[in-house]
């Protein structure tokens, strides 16, 4: 057994300096398309390339609705004028009217993760928050198997028909105050699966969402950012209104 101890010590500390410092290692984030005040290419072509209608035109600008982005890279690859790309990860936003958990929770927050039909990627990124690179325990976040002692319900997936009962029961079993975190494009808007006959249009169909984490999948640091927002230790990238109808200028819901 002692060889394992030596092996562990030899590895040293690999944990990120985030949130107190910067984290810029390549490959930690897939990035997101960024709103462009002045896009000098053909806007119509750019918007038409987006398969989910995440790009809109508003007041002559190209705006990005990040909760619908799938990282298909069609607005950045194979196009004459690619959209600009945000390679960061602090994308968590808080819903209008929602607030962080009370200050007494700041350094000890329990999370119940519920998989409501995700593809495995969002869940894997959530699982990786426990690995030595991110080590969320150091920040006082713990994953709990029981909703009865959970403060945050972290939901991934578009909410499938078969998971509705289990998800509602998990939420109801949690003590107040509690917060709901919707992680990933599917959980925010149904993604490419919903709304359909067995798939919802995201978590807010069923539960009041407090924090939204965009990304397909959001990298671990974005999820961590969302947790820090709920702990009142980081500010959100923006505050968002509840889901609107996704109609773009060029016509219809995509």
């Amino acid at each position: 057994m002692s060889r394992w101890v030596i092996k562990g010590l030899q590895t040293g500390v690999v944990t990120t300096r985030y949130p107190s410092g910067e984290e810029t290692t390549p490959g930690i984030s897939p990035g997101l398309p960024q709103a462009m005040p002045s896009y000098d290419g053909d806007t119509r072509t750019l918007i038409a390339r987006c398969p989910t209608g995440a790009l809109h035109r508003a007041d002559g600008r190209v705006v990005v609705e990040s909760r619908r982005c799938l990282h298909c890279y069609r607005c950045s690859r194979g196009i004459a004028k690619p959209i600009s790309w945000d390679s960061g990860f602090e994308w968590a936003s808080i819903r209008e009217g929602s607030a962080a958990l009370p200050a007494t929770f700041r350094r000890s927050i329990y999370i119940r993760v519920v998989d409501a039909g995700d593809c495995g990627a969002c869940l894997n990124e959530t699982r990786l928050l426990n690995n030595p690179f991110y080590n969320m325990h150091r920040l006082g976040f713990f994953i709990t198997p029981t909703p009865r002692k959970a403060d945050i319900l972290l939901v991934v997936g578009p909410v499938t028909d078969h998971m509705k009962t289990a998800l509602s029961k998990a939420y109801d079993a949690m003590p107040t105050p509690k917060r709901v975190m919707a992680v990933g494009t599917c959980a925010l808007s149904g993604g490419i699966f919903g709304p359909g006959f067995v798939t919802g249009a995201g978590v807010s169909d069923l539960l009041p969402v407090d924090v939204e984490i965009p990304g397909c999948p959001p990298p671990p640091l974005t999820i961590l950012h969302g947790l820090l927002v709920l702990a009142g230790r980081k500010s959100a990238s923006q505050s968002t209104k509840p889901v609107s109808a996704h109609v773009n200028e060029e016509g219809g819901i995509r």
């Binding site: 390549p26 409501a116 690995n131 359909g196 397909c216």
Partner: protein
């Protein structure tokens, strides 16, 4: 035996069987009457040693059922096809003789409303009976989601079937929401105390009806589904879909793209196996090993993110090649990094096989025999650990695999340790293929534009978890008429109960971890 000889024999035994060339000399279609299907499949599976890979049901102007078989080398691929008028909804069950077809028939019953006569357990499968009544058949073209949702009649009194009927027997339910970050699946473990006597996984909590959503959509839309229904093996599935479309457009994918496809498929395999190994270490409570392998998995994800922009390689494989090119220098750099990962894993392996408390938990636990693996048509590392080997990279080479030199690790014990050893050896072979790909990378474009024509494309890819088959039928307007996904997790979940039964409760999470299954890939 060669496929042609088998075809000649078949014509002698079944005078009504018609043999046609499907898409190449190594793929034949045996057309027969519904009443002969069971006998013919039985003969191919049990006498001729073909591997059963799946059933494709299509509702065109008539019912079309295709039973897919694959063999070693010159045995090629055989598609047993039968047709029947739409009002005829009863077919003989093939699964009586070919057990691997069991779940495929249950799925067709639930989604198309077909009845397979002789099948022992129809009913509650994909659509759960406590949420939907029987007979919804959502894959039928006449299905109307609005009225189906309005007229839903769930059976609130639904209870799972009990098999163990002795005094003191009880059911231990687990899930669908359980443990820390597990996927949603429900287990009913029947027991009289310590040992799991019967393990019944109830899946499809995550059923998103991917095959249904794909209908009527364009190729550009469906590739997003192909890649995102199972995010942890996204590249392999996007590749399989792309290859199926390429068959319909008769496009020559540039050589550089083919070699790079091998490179990225192996990078995905390396990353996926690291995740599975991490899961095994974590299930046995070996903390340092869990952390160490988790570091390597994250490094592999960062490597993919650094190279391709996306940690899970989304948006890379497209019909006709790849969506972007890579400069040779960064590919060479990534080989150095991948080597570092595999070298570190080597050191961990040396420590693992020296840790008796770890080996005690996985050795002679969760055993699957070779014959069982064959009967259930198991695929991937799980099957190879039991000595049953059908690796599509070897028997049906695609992309540039026929130009690569690599071994396919196999073991014979079929226990958890054998599965771990197969995973560990496969990471080394993946690195070997990646090195060859970069060393012999041709110059040139990575994408050819093409237009697919109407018809059927069928492509098989060896994903990290085993063989997947994507069946695509395109209509005249270039939209999908039918998209059938046969996935390795669906195949291997079917056989999972064999490993879990007759072992103690505390072995259950470990056996589950050694299988490395994905629920999303199964549920679709």
């Amino acid at each position: 035996m060669k496929i042609q000889e088998i075809a000649n024999q078949a014509k002698v035994f079944w005078t009504d069987v018609e043999v046609a060339v499907a898409d190449s000399s190594l793929t034949l279609e045996f057309r027969c009457k519904p009443k002969e299907v069971a006998g013919l499949c039985d003969w191919l599976f049990n006498q001729q040693n073909y591997h059963f890979s799946g059933l494709v049901v299509e509702e065109n102007a008539i019912w079309e059922l295709h039973y897919l078989f694959v063999g070693q080398g010159e045995m090629g691929r055989i598609r047993v096809s039968t047709v029947a008028p739409l009002q005829e909804c009863r077919f003989p069950s093939v699964s009586v003789a070919v057990h691997a077809a069991d779940w495929h028939e249950r799925e067709a019953e639930d989604l198309f409303g077909l009845v397979f006569e002789g099948h022992p357990s129809m009913g509650d499968f994909i659509l759960h009976d406590d949420v939907w009544q029987e007979g919804v058949a959502p894959m039928r073209s006449r299905f109307d989601p609005v009225s189906a949702l309005a007229n839903r009649k769930p059976r609130h009194d639904w209870r799972p079937k009990r098999v163990v009927d002795v005094p003191g027997a009880f059911v231990m339910p687990i899930g669908p929401v359980f443990s820390g970050t597990e996927e949603s699946v429900h287990f009913q473990l029947e027991t009289i105390g310590e040992e799991v006597l019967r393990a019944f996984p109830r899946l499809f909590f995550k059923y998103r009806s991917v095959e249904k959503i794909a209908e009527g959509r364009s190729i550009d839309d469906v590739i997003l589904l192909a890649e995102r229904f199972s995010g942890t093996t996204a590249f392999s599935h996007a590749l399989a879909f792309s290859m199926a479309i390429e068959q319909l457009s008769e496009v020559d994918v540039p050589e550089r793209a083919q070699v790079l496809r091998c490179f990225f498929a192996e990078l995905e395999r390396l990353r996926n196996h690291l995740g599975t190994i991490d899961g095994i270490c974590s299930s046995t409570g070996l903390a340092v090993a869990t952390s160490q392998t988790a570091i390597l998995e994250e490094e592999a994800l960062r490597l993919a993110g650094f190279l391709a922009g996306h940690r899970y390689l989304f948006g890379l494989a497209v019909p006709g090649g790849l969506s972007r090119d890579f400069d040779n220098q960064s590919l060479r750099e990534s080989i150095t990094r991948a080597k570092g990962i595999v070298r570190s894993l080597d050191e961990i392996e040396k420590l693992l096989i020296d840790t008796s408390s770890f080996l005690d938990r996985i050795e002679e636990v969760g055993i699957i025999g070779k014959q069982q693996a064959r009967d259930y048509g198991l695929v991937g590392p799980v099957a190879r650990a039991s000595g049953y080997c059908n690796d599509l990279r070897e028997i049906q080479p695609y992309a540039a695999y026929d130009a690569c030199t690599f071994d396919i690790p196999r073991e014979s014990e079929g226990d958890g340790y054998a599965r771990l050893r197969v995973l560990l050896s496969e990471t080394k072979q993946s690195l070997r293929i990646m090195e060859q790909a970069v060393a012999h990378l041709p110059d040139g474009p990575v994408f050819t534009k093409s237009k697919a024509t109407a018809g059927v494309g069928l492509a098989g890819v060896e994903t990290p978890r085993g063989a997947t088959w994507h069946w695509v039928r395109l209509d005249e307007e270039g939209r999908l008429k039918r998209y059938r996904l046969i996935t390795p997790s669906f195949t291997n979940w079917h056989g999972f109960h064999l490993a879990a039964e007759n072992f103690a409760f505390q072995d259950f999470p470990i056996i589950l971890a050694t299988f490395g299954l994905s629920v999303a890939e199964n549920d679709r």
